[in-house]
């Protein structure tokens, strides 16, 4: 009997037993789809957690200039130019001068932190406005006296009035409020909400110094942080000729947390994947054992009329492969649909389509399907024909 003949016979048998073939396939479909969607859910959760940790600034590098150069200091333009040349590791840069200052609105006074920076600061530090606008290139170019206020400042100075468009005095200089910063610490004083952001070009009189000694740099990703730091150190050493004239540091604690979370999420992911593979595998195993065992009599008939053991086994391997293979493909499609419509629809975690996990689920299902389809077929085919015929 040729392989082609065995294949035709297997297909005929699958078609002839539509109900049983469908049930077997259903077992595989459910197994594969549940593995894929469970893993996708775990991966999505991991991604959303690591993303939100990263949002806090794992990619952030701080530069502080402590020494002096005999010729000239590094300017923001120098840094910007260097960043553009190293765009593979550096995503963005912003000056970040800060000082504490007296702020006055009408007759109300308060002390707060002033940060003088550029529009890039918004994305590097993830500070956004809830009303009004952030700094614009225009503000820097034309030295506009505009300010963004944190919620603690709003509470303290403006009470219930809308601060947008109001004039405030910072260390005696008049600034117009153009935006309110997103709240980060419940509007508490001495928190991240207790600050005012102004353009770096308008800050000279406020800061009482012209040199900028702090910069924020964003690496292109968390794993590029080290490379970015190395290149920055080399760049600064070239300017200052002295390692002690500057400091370059990252958010190593934050990175550590990220790594911890990522590795524990990987364990969770592995556990979920393993459990769903086992559950799916047992389902496939059961349906294969049952569906092949109930065909012992058929195997007896085939043997009685001249089938050899290998004829029977070839037929059952092909049947199991075709049924589990088709079930596996449908299972992958169903799994991806669940990711798209259920996980995507619920919008709890971002949808992640993992081809490797789909292939693992498919491969293991196929393997389990073939082994547990073949095992009872092998047992039945090894019986004497009369013993197989006697079963009902």
């Amino acid at each position: 009997m040729s392989f082609f003949q065995a294949y035709k016979m297997a297909i005929k048998s699958i078609k002839a037993n539509k109900g049983r073939s469908f049930l077997t396939m259903l077992g595989v479909i459910i197994g594969v789809a549940s593995v894929i969607s469970a893993v996708a859910f775990a991966q999505g959760s991991t991604k959303s957690i690591t993303d939100s940790i990263q949002k806090l600034g794992t990619n952030l590098i701080q530069i502080t200039i402590t020494g002096r150069n005999s010729n000239r200091d590094m300017s923001y333009d120098d840094l910007k130019k260097f960043a553009e040349e190293n765009s593979d590791v550096i995503a963005a840069t912003a000056p970040q001068s800060s000082t504490s200052a007296k702020v006055k609105y009408g007759s109300t006074n308060m002390d707060t932190t002033i940060i003088a920076t550029s529009p890039e600061y918004e994305n590097i530090k993830n500070v956004h406005v809830t009303q009004g606008r952030f700094l614009l290139d225009f503000d820097l170019e034309y030295r506009q006296n505009v300010a963004l206020v944190g919620t603690a400042v709003v509470n303290e100075l403006f009470e219930n009035r809308n601060p947008i468009g109001e004039k405030i005095k910072i260390n005696g200089q008049i600034f117009k409020v153009v935006g309110i910063l997103e709240e980060r610490a419940d509007g508490a004083t001495r928190s991240d909400d207790d600050q005012i952001i102004i353009p770096v070009t308008s800050s000279r009189m406020v800061m009482k110094t012209s040199s900028i000694r702090n910069f924020a740099v964003e690496a292109t990703s968390a794993d590029k942080v080290d490379a970015a730091m190395e290149s920055l150190k080399a760049f600064l050493l070239d300017i200052y000729k002295n390692e002690n004239a500057f400091r370059v540091f990252d958010q190593s604690q934050m990175l550590e947390t990220l790594n911890d979370v990522t590795s524990s999420m990987m364990i969770v992911l592995g556990g979920i994947a393993a459990i769903s593979l086992i559950v799916g595998g047992i389902g496939i195993m059961n349906i294969m054992l049952v569906s092949v065992t109930e065909r012992t009599k058929e195997i007896g008939i085939r043997k009685a009329i001249g089938a050899k053991r290998k004829n029977i086994l070839t037929q059952f391997i092909i049947e199991a492969t075709v049924v589990t293979g088709m079930g596996g493909i449908i299972g992958i499609l169903l799994g991806f649909s669940i990711i798209k419509f259920v996980i995507g629809g619920l919008d709890l975690v971002p949808p992640v389509y993992s081809i490797p996990w789909a292939l693992i689920a498919f491969g293991i299902s196929l393997l389990v399907g073939i082994i547990f389809g073949l095992f009872p077929a092998y047992k039945a085919a090894s019986l004497k024909p009369i013993e197989a015929l006697r079963t009902e």
Binding site: K303, I305, A307, K308, L389
Partner: protein, 251 residues
């Protein structure tokens, strides 16, 4: 073991030579065959020291009470089961010690079965059931279909090619089984109570088919409860409690 086998072969040859050229050739030769079923502590001796020989083109009926060992004997003769001890020479070949696959080959080339319960594959059509033995002997598809159709026409089922077994009457199912048994042109047909599940009219039809086959030169071994049916054979062997108690020619 090997020695024993050779001995038997020699003995077999001697028997043949002794009979001389005028006697018809022996097809089935059984010596001291035992079949013992062991279920837990209980031993059932289903066949006790059976000696039997059947010649080519004989029509033999095996009769006996229920549980006497008729089916057990037929299963041994048909190579569906192996004896506990004893020798079985089928068509000049010692088969009691052959491998499973060798026996499958013998079944597909030399033996056709007709069972009381038909043993058709329920999900396949009449035509596909009849085709099946040809698949295992490697006949190509167009030839298979041609021959299976002819075989079904021969048993009067030319109009039922695409019916499934459960869409056929008992008599029709048994005729499908007969067509299947004959498709490889086996020299021997074993029929275990082929009319047991049929009404008398269908039973007569099946018997007529068997008689026709016998006329065409097939060797037929028929198991039955029914003395009327047994007496339509040439020779009747009566079994009781696992031993042959009578072996007579029908006049």
């Amino acid at each position: 073991m090997e020695e024993h086998r050779e001995e038997c072969l020699l003995e077999h040859k001697a028997v043949q030579e002794g009979r001389g050229a005028t006697l018809t050739e022996t097809l089935i030769e059984i010596r001291e065959m035992w079949k013992i079923y062991q279920i837990n502590q209980l031993q059932v001796q289903a066949l006790k020291n059976i000696n039997l020989s059947i010649k080519k083109n004989e029509f033999v009926a095996i009769v006996g009470p229920s549980g006497s060992g008729k089916s057990t004997l037929m299963n041994m003769l048909g190579c569906l089961d192996t004896p506990t001890s004893g020798t079985y020479i089928l068509d000049n070949e010692e088969v009691s010690n052959l491998s499973d696959d060798k026996l499958a080959e013998i079944r597909s080339k030399k033996i056709g079965f007709i069972f009381q319960s038909f043993n058709l594959i329920q999900k396949l059509t009449a035509l596909e059931n009849v085709e099946l033995p040809l698949i295992y002997t490697g006949v190509k598809a167009s030839e298979r279909i041609r021959r299976a159709k002819l075989a079904l026409e021969d048993v009067g089922l030319g109009q039922r090619l695409y019916h499934k077994p459960n869409e056929l009457s008992g008599g029709q199912q048994q005729r499908v089984a007969i067509a299947r048994a004959l498709i490889n042109n086996p020299p021997i047909i074993f029929a275990d109570e082929p009319t047991g599940n049929l009404d008398s009219k269908s039973g007569v039809e099946i018997m007529n088919l068997l008689k026709e086959l016998h006329k065409k030169g097939n060797t037929i071994v028929l198991i039955t409860h029914d003395n009327d049916i047994a007496n339509q054979a040439e020779r009747v062997i009566r079994i009781s409690d696992g031993t042959i108690v009578e072996d007579r020619q029908v006049i």
